[in-house]
Amino acid sequence: MNEALQQLVNGISLGSTYALMALGLAIVFTIFGLVNFAHGELITIAAYAMLLCYNIGIPWFLGAVIGVAVAAVAAVTMEFVAFRPVRHADVTTMLITSFGVSIVIQAIFAVTVSARVQTATQPAWSSKSLTLMGITLPIYQVATIIVTALALLILVFVLKRTTFGLAMRGAAEDFQTARLLGVRSHRLTTAAFAVSGLLAGVAAVLILARTGGAVYPTMGLAIILKAFVAIVIGGMGSLVGAAAGGMVLGIAEVSLRAYLPGSISGLTDGILFLAVVLIIIIRPQGILGTKPKLRT
């Protein structure tokens, strides 16, 4: 029982980072129809920014804030440099562009820093645990869940209660109409990418806490693949679905790793991605989605 509970917390904590990434992907996808392959590199960029901060002695919290901010700026820059020129191209052109951007960013870090794993020193508390009602919880997991919940609450508030949020939701329904009705498209684009960058930055801080600060050029890749899975589970185009899909994925992944027999536990990723294929065939609107919202 305790073990199951512990695995559940473990899964939610892993799922939280997936949820943050999937949300960022979904925001950009619903508005622009762009599946941003380079979204994972925002994590990498934030992580390298934090690595730099800690190497020159900036305190942890300040470094984390800088990392998040850098991710947001990077997302906006990415859009401005690479995605704006292909805004009116078809879905595939945009996708392949983002794929290229992803490779470029990975290569830049490999060329300028190193392809090897560097360590961004994490604060001592992140590796400690606390015991609650008989279950031992690593502090980073608790922090991850709390921070993700906060981030989601703020996002929901912004989307539901502010003019900017209204503009975003309108643009997600129909970008052209929203533009015609006076939504400033460049500003909205910038804002949407900034939000997706902020979410990725927060995810980066949490991921570093979990991995003890391992920073390397391809660190975003594994996560972005999982975030794709999450948005497929959640029904592409739904923000709530993306967040929930991330959670479901995290729990499924942790359970598979924990309960599959040792000889085949390595197949966890294979099983999850096979599940994605099945979901797209059987329920293209996602497990949680109600209506298919793919653009033609």
Binding site: T92, A107, L267, F273
Partner: protein
């Protein structure tokens, strides 16, 4: 006019393969003699990349459906040939407990290659069943997911593959001539398919899937076929890599190779076999230059610092720049033989005799009590109508009356909730592509042409289908002259003027040798002169094959001028039917259609569904 037949495709295949293979072979020989053994290895690697990239292009280029998963087939091919051809001594130490008794098995390299390709083909056939149903983002994610699944399985099925570490001891028998033969084969298959009638149908579906389906193209089957073909090609690439390297790991066939091949494909142009070859050459040369710089070369007396990762940076930047500057790639739709040897493309026109449908058709199109609801809105609510042989029938009605929904039902695009559509008391077949083959074709309100295909090819799509359906198609050349499109037969459909596009769409529908043609708002957006010209066109069409024609439009004067009989639709029901003279004096028609009567406005107020219905069916229109 260049008509596409398997014969012309074979000829194009031979010419293109020669034109592409010769420079690659010369480059390979030159580099091999310049650099010796390592040069030859690089040349063979590049040739294998040609095999893989051209193969991916067979599917991606012709179908327009993206795939990030083809390297998975290369992995399966490579591991299959490795497991089948490696000597038992090596396998005993590496995979002592392999299933299926593979530890003891060893076959000759040739048998191993054939068996591996069969394995890949079977896998491709199964995966193809999934991929053929997808497009857009779904196909990208599914194919990427399948790549992850394959590599994950290969890395973790330790008993079979030895896991993530290298599988070694594969016979390294691959020579430059063998690689060249493999490349030429793949180039030939890709070129023939691209220029073949089947290739044309698949390209039509790439341009506009719905239009292709309503012209009778079996999109799913063609996509599946192209997918299997390209999977086998990619598998061949994997087989060659295994036989070149002698040692492979699952990671050799994962994202790095996927990045590389995609960069090569998009740089040259996904749709062009020539482009695929150019992409491989340019990227290979670029990679070598950046690798040389990255290794820290000695220039005169300076030693530059070593910079690892430069080649990847080059790949990424290439992809981004190509996508921004020239998303169709260097070649776009063109092939090497489009530039050279033009005289090879002699016209095949003379071979075709005029083949206008000889006997007058006698079929009747009968719709009985059709009902279609959208979320409770009755778009079509109990409509019965008939179109006789050679008859020109009009269907008019105000916006939102359900005209387009009715047309979609009649052409099999939508399935009615109730009622039936029959041609000579045979119900319309399913799925939709069979409807066209049974002799019923249509046009669309928002013109749906195959934009990057030329005028002649647009019409040929339908004539090819007509031949498949054994119906008596009309010769494309005759048709183009009948619709005065013969002078612009080589222009891309996308570049035509509006009126020409309308005419082409009608010609394309007529080309199936249809017994019935449904025209959806053919004069929408046309001025008086163009509208008159179109009237001529429709009469031509009627005279050409004796097809029954149903014209849907708002334009009352147009309909009155051309039709023998007119149905009036309002709020999903037929409210009147008769000759033009009867219709203009019918009060119900004046009420509903011109909508000036006070009585009608009252109705509208009492029936809150009406407004909603208008918007819903309009939404339908624009799909």
């Amino acid at each position: 006019m260049n008509q596409r037949t398997w014969l012309t495709a074979l000829r194009a295949g031979i010419i293109r393969t020669t034109l592409l293979a010769v420079p690659v072979i010369l480059l390979a020989l030159a580099y091999s003699s310049f650099r010796g053994g390592s040069g030859e290895r690089l040349a063979i690697t590049a040739i294998i990349n040609v095999v893989i990239v051209v193969s991916i292009g067979i599917f991606v280029g012709n179908s327009g459906v993206e795939s990030f998963g083809h390297i998975g087939f290369a992995a399966v091919g490579a591991y299959s040939v490795a497991l089948l051809t490696t000597s038992p001594q090596v396998k005993k130490s590496r995979i002592p407990d392999a299933p299926f008794g593979l530890t003891q098995t060893q076959v000759s390299v040739l048998v191993g290659v054939v068996l591996s390709l069969i394995i890949v083909a079977v896998l491709g056939a199964v995966v193809g069943l999934v991929v053929m149903r997808l497009s857009g983002i779904s196909s990208t994610i599914v194919t990427l997911a399948l790549l992850v699944v394959v590599v994950n399985l290969v890395s973790n099925w330790v008993d079979l593959t030895g896991g993530a570490e290298a599988f070694y001891g594969i016979p390294t028998v691959l020579t430059l001539p063998m690689a060249v033969i493999a490349m030429a084969t793949v180039l030939f298959v890709a070129s023939v398919f691209r220029s073949s009638p089947w290739g044309l149908l698949l390209q039509a579906a790439r341009e506009d899937e719905l239009a292709a389906v309503t012209m009778g193209v079996n999109v799913g089957l063609l996509r599946w076929f192209a997918f299997v073909l390209s999977a086998v090609g990619a598998g061949m690439g994997g087989v060659l890599f295994a036989l070149l390297l002698g040692a492979i790991t699952p990671n050799d066939f994962y994202l790095t190779l996927t990045f590389l091949t995609i960069a090569m494909l998009v740089l040259g142009g996904k749709r062009s076999t020539t482009g695929a070859v150019i992409g491989v050459i340019v990227i290979t040369i670029g990679n070598e230059i950046f690798r040389w710089i990255g290794d820290g070369p000695n220039i005169v007396s300076f030693t530059l610092p070593a910079v690892p990762g430069l080649t990847t940076l080059f790949l990424g930047i290439t992809i981004v720049v190509v996508m921004i500057v020239r998303p169709a790639g260097i070649m776009g739709d063109r092939e090497v033989d489009d530039f050279t040897l033009r005289w090879f493309h002699r016209s095949t026109e003379d071979a075709q005799g005029p083949a206008v449908a000889s006997e007058a058709p006698t079929s009747r199109l009968v719709a009985a009590d059709l009902v279609k609801h959208f979320d409770g809105v009755k778009a079509v609510d109990g409509v019965s109508l008939e179109v006789g042989p050679g008859e020109i029938v009009g269907l008019i009605g105000p916006n939102g009356a359900g005209k387009t929904t009715l047309l979609n039902l009649l052409s099999g695009v939508l399935i009615p909730d109730h009622g039936s559509v029959c041609i000579d008391s045979t119900p319309l077949p399913q799925p939709p592509y069979r409807v066209a083959r049974s002799g019923l074709a249509r046009t669309f309100q928002n013109i749906r042409l195959f934009g990057s295909l030329n005028v002649s090819e647009n019409v040929q799509v339908t004539t090819i289908v007509a031949k498949k359906a054994n119906s008596q198609g009309i010769d494309p050349a005759d048709l183009l002259s009948a619709f005065s499109l013969n002078k612009i037969s080589q222009r891309k459909a996308r570049t035509l003027a509006y009126g020409d596009q309308r005419r082409l769409e009608i010609a394309r529908a007529a080309a199936i040798g249809s017994r019935f043609v449904l025209l959806d708002e053919p004069v929408a957006g046309m001025n008086e002169v163009e509208s008159l010209a179109l009237r001529e066109t429709i009469h031509n069409l009627n005279a050409l094959g004796g097809a029954g024609i149903l014209v849907v439009d708002h334009d009352l004067s147009f309909i009155l001028g051309i039709c023998e009989r007119i149905y009036v639709l309002d709020a999903g029901r037929i409210i009147a039917m008769g000759s033009p003279d009867e219709i203009v004096v019918n009060t119900a028609v004046i009420d509903a259609y011109i909508g000036t009567s006070i009585n009608h406005q009252d109705n509208a107020l009492q029936d809150p569904n009406m407004h909603e219905q208008s918007t819903t069916t309009n939404g339908e229109d624009t799909r």
